[in-house]
């Protein structure tokens, strides 16, 4: 089977990847809850998580999407730039408050929970990263970032292409988990709790030895025709029912190694669930987590502090939770665009361009990285930070370091990656 793709560095694995004959529609994409063979999609509050499973326990990539356009310059602060302070009279981050500052950059103080990772060289901060050309629409920029296939009309995301290279035909079927508070009317005298559990993913009466087989027979009859709008999903649901109980038991064990996620954090719940799945050795290969709330048009000051605090605490807890499995897991943050250099009328920032990316964990060589364009008047793009590193190059470097079997040319067609060397070579 050929599809005309000519991946650079094609090898046997790439060939098998192209032969993997499943329909890859918007698998790990942001909008909604598309379930597919090999991918589990979960909602934790507003946080959408998709998990791709392969047959083996190898390295894991976690993509944390900071939805809304996170302001990189509030997180990785270019404190040596006078233009930064003059453009943001009331919202610039003061140099004196920065963590781990060098001559050019410093981190927002809310990153404090990640200082141990920074000090041990497991956190990289990379600036002036973004799309090759500006796009200030949330939705369109998000799609471009996630497709990473300029000029192609096939709406297939890069992460999809990556997991297409992993996923065996022994698939774990799609899961969507909803987190919500159960009304006491439904659970009786037990305390209400937020469920993100696989335990609820079961056919009706699964635990009833008399009724469950009858129910399964009935559903098999009803969904035996995969050709209807809903038939295939029904068959996948029946397969999921058979697997979810095992996962429920794993998830129920909760965080390990004394890891403590922030209370009431949907991101914390998503990462705790992800950590348990990774620890359980059922073949997690890639996880995409949507973490919204970064569209700071208004009063960015306290909002940014809160967001970064939550993110930092969650990532720190995640790595503690992973324990010895941490050496398999790399986290990278992505956002659809950075924000304007100049503050707006509401102590906030409108949509901009160049942004900061953070990478954590396995393979990361910590520190600051940037081909820093400066904020000089002639260096800006429409009044925004310029982009000097294509975000695909950042991702390609992670793939080359951690996932050597994945053809970078397959995942990012047409890209000539440049290296920043924030990842240790494979």
């Amino acid at each position: 089977m050929t599809d005309g793709l000519q991946p650079s560095g094609a090898d046997a694995h790439d060939a098998s990847c192209r032969d993997y004959g499943i329909s890859r529609r918007n698998l790990l994409r942001s909008a909604g809850v598309v379930g597919m063979a090999g991918v589990a999609t979960s909602m934790f509050g507003d946080v959408l998580t998709s998990t791709a499973f392969g047959a083996t326990n190898e390295n894991v990539l976690v993509v944390l999407s900071l939805r809304g356009g996170a302001d990189g310059m509030s997180m990785m602060v270019p404190h040596a730039e006078s233009a930064y302070y003059s453009a943001r009279p009331s919202i610039a981050i003061k140099k004196s408050t920065l963590l781990h500052a060098d001559n050019t950059f410093g981190l927002h103080s809310s990153f404090a929970p990640l200082s141990p990772m920074w000090n041990s060289g497991k956190m990289a901060a990379i600036h002036a990263v973004g799309l090759p050309t500006p796009n200030r629409s949330h939705f369109e920029a998000m799609e471009l970032v996630e497709d990473a296939d300029p000029g192609s009309s096939e709406r297939v995301g890069w992460l999809n292409r990556m997991i297409g290279c992993f996923t065996s035909n022994d698939v774990f079927d799609g899961v969507q988990i909803g987190a919500t508070t159960m009304p006491t009317s439904l659970i009786g005298p037990e305390p209400a709790f937020a469920t993100t559990d696989f335990g609820s993913l079961a056919i009706p009466w699964r635990d009833n030895p008399d009724l469950a087989p009858r129910m399964r027979t009935a559903l098999n009859t009803l969904y035996k025709d995969a050709g209807t709008v809903i038939g295939r999903t029904g068959q996948d649901a029946l397969a999921l029912d058979q697997r979810a109980a095992t996962l429920a038991a794993i998830e129920k064990a909760g965080p390990q190694n004394g890891a403590s996620y922030p209370q009431y954090s949907a991101l914390g719940e998503a990462l705790a669930s992800s950590a348990s799945l990774i620890r359980s050795s059922i073949g997690v290969r890639a996880i995409a987590v949507d973490f919204g709330g970064w569209d700071h048009h208004v009063d960015i000051g306290w909002r940014m502090s809160n967001q970064v605090t939550e993110m930092a605490k969650c990532i720190a807890a995640f790595y503690a939770d992973l324990g010895s499995h941490a050496s398999r897991v790399t986290v990278v943050t992505l956002s659809e665009f950075g924000r304007r250099l100049n503050q707006n009328g509401a102590a906030g920032l409108d949509h901009g361009y160049g942004n900061a990316v953070f990478a954590f964990g396995a393979g990361v060589q910590g520190g600051y990285y940037a081909k820093w364009p400066t904020l000089g008047a002639g260096k800006q793009v429409d009044g925004d930070l310029a982009v000097t590193t294509d975000y695909r190059s950042v991702l390609a470097e992670i793939l080359e370091s951690r996932f050597p079997s994945v053809g970078v040319g397959t995942v990012f067609p047409g890209l000539s990656p440049t290296r920043l060397n924030f990842m240790s070579p494979y």
Binding site: A31, G32, V33, V34, G35, A40, T41, D46, R67, R136, S137, H138, F139, E140, G174, V175, Q176, G178, T180, P183, T184, S185, L186, S200, L201, I203, P204, W205, R214, M215, T217, A218, L219, T221, L222, K224, D225, T228, V229, I230, G231, T233, G234, D236, A237, A239, L240, D241, A244, G292, G293, H297, V298, N344, G345, A346, G348, D350, H351, D382
Partner: protein
């Protein structure tokens, strides 16, 4: 051969298609309403011109807090008298209740449709205090008027100002948020090719609106309005008056009547009411009607429903989670009579959330996805099957709701063939006879065969008969056909 009463559909297949698309689901009351009209077209026309809906309107009394003024709402939330969460929850339940009990089903569907396009979540901090007012004054009065009028009412509403930061957008400090989404989400769309200057100029025309949340007022302040000519997508607005509201109206009407806007509205209508990938021909037809009729919503719906592509699209849409929960509720004829914690209505709200789509909980300004296959994950299906099974239960009590007594669900025929009972239940719940696989599945659940006949004694004890009915109804609700529209 005599047929068991209630085993033949009341409405022909073509009528059922229209009914499934423009209502929240079949039940006996709906069938009676359709049959009151000359034919389904007359019913559809009546739905386009809805009169009072006392059953739906009465549900507002279940939520006394929704009558709080924006100022009171805001201060109650700040002082923990009644939380933002609770106000949002009330609005969600109120909307669900109207969809369950209302007679003006098409109207409720269009309120849902426009609320999802001109979308404001119910619990967002800078918009929640005015959110009920937005529902009552911007969306509902304009849901069947013209998009021009609707757009103006929505964009100039204080809830929208708060949600998309327009209350902080002034001539000296432009905030682009609403100006951008107005172009991208509500009207012409990104493919129209506007520039960043267009976005800023769009925001300039929107200056002058303020919201004082604590006082519960939203005064227009001409001194904050940008005065002077601005150009958006090549069209220059003189914008000479200190009070820019008249010019804003010109701008919004111009945007509404752009062909790009017509295309996007037509596409979205066809995606909701025809299929996830609507044929070009029906989009073009609706678009043309939109342009010819000054964006008249009823005219667009008439064109859509008369188009061959609509007629050919029966059962091509899967119900979204919330559509499925409400259709199930209606199929089981469970009618809420009030709200509150631990009530049947609060359970319904939770079913929506649990299966992935509770009204007004989508966090972003683009609204829930309109394509129904977005919601077809295996996990969602497992959960929907469980919800169907719970709602199929014909025994036990429900809090602040009514449900038919099991004995009233039976045809008065003894001996009663099991297959007839299955068709009888299917016709009652879905308007159609049970497909062959559903009959088979129901028979296997009740451990009966095609020749099984129930004697009159079967209905005693009532608990056993209720349980058998529950199993039959579970099979009907869990069939693919019951989840399609």
């Amino acid at each position: 051969m005599t047929t068991t009463p209630g085993t033949q559909p009341l409405l022909p297949a073509a009528s059922m298609h229209i009914v499934r698309r423009f209502t929240y689901g079949y039940n006996g009351r709906l069938a009676a309403d359709v049959l009151r009209h000359r034919d389904v077209d007359a019913w559809f026309e009546a739905q386009l011109n809805p009169g009072a809906d006392p059953d739906a309107d009465a549900t507002l009394a279940w939520f006394p807090r929704l009558k709080d003024s924006p100022g009171t709402t805001f201060s109650n939330s700040r002082s923990d008298v009644y939380s933002t969460w609770s106000y949002g929850s009330d609005l969600t339940r109120y909307s669900i209740a109207r969809r369950i009990v209302g007679t003006n089903q098409l109207y409720e569907m269009m309120v849902d449709f426009w609320s999802n396009l001109l979308y404001i979540p119910a619990r967002e901090d800078s918009s929640f205090a005015w959110r009920m007012d937005y529902d009552a004054k911007a969306i509902r009065p304009h849901a069947l008027t013209s998009f021009k009028q609707l757009l103006h009412a929505a964009v100039t509403h204080p809830s929208m100002s708060g949600f998309l930061s327009n209350h902080r957008n002034t001539k000296t400090l432009i905030n682009e948020n609403l100006g951008r989404e107005l172009l991208e989400l509500y009207t012409v769309g990104r493919t129209a090719g506007y520039s960043e200057d267009d976005v800023r100029n769009s925001a300039r025309l929107l200056t002058g609106f303020t919201v004082d949340f604590a006082a519960g007022v939203a005064p227009y302040k001409p001194e904050l309005h940008h005065v002077g000519p601005v150009t958006v997508m090549g069209k220059t607005f003189p914008n000479g008056a200190a009070d820019g509201r008249a010019e804003l109206k010109n701008y919004l009407h111009w945007l509404a009547m752009r062909p790009e806007t017509a295309e996007r509205i037509a596409n979205r209508l066809c995606t909701r009411f025809v299929s996830d990938e609507p044929p070009r021909s029906v989009i073009d037809a609706v678009k043309q009607t939109y342009l010819d009729s000054d964006s008249d919503i009823k005219e667009c719906l008439r064109t859509l429903v008369r188009h061959p592509a609509f007629k050919a699209s029966a059962m091509q849409k899967a119900r979204t989670p919330v559509e499925d929960v409400i259709a199930t509720q209606r199929a089981c004829d469970i009618t809420p009579t009030g709200s509150g914690e631990d009530t049947q209505l609060s359970a319904v709200q939770w079913y929506c959330q649990w299966t992935g789509q509770s009204p007004f909980t989508w966090p972003r300004p683009d609204g829930f996805p309109e394509k129904s296959d977005t919601y077809l994950s295996p996990a969602r299906l497992l959960r929907s099957w469980n919800v169907h099974t719970w709602m199929a239960n014909t025994s036990g009590s429900v809090s602040k709701a009514t449900r038919p007594a099991p004995r009233n669900l039976l045809p008065p025929v003894w001996p009663l063939p099991a297959v007839d009972l299955i068709h009888h239940q299917a016709v009652m719940m879905t308007g159609s006879r049970a497909p062959a696989d559903t009959v088979k599945a129901a028979l296997s659940l009740i451990e009966a065969t095609e020749t099984t006949k129930f004697k009159e004694s079967w209905q005693r004890p009532i608990s056993y008969m209720s349980w058998q009915l529950t199993l039959i109804r579970t099979a009907i609700l869990n069939s693919p056909e019951a989840m399609l529209r």
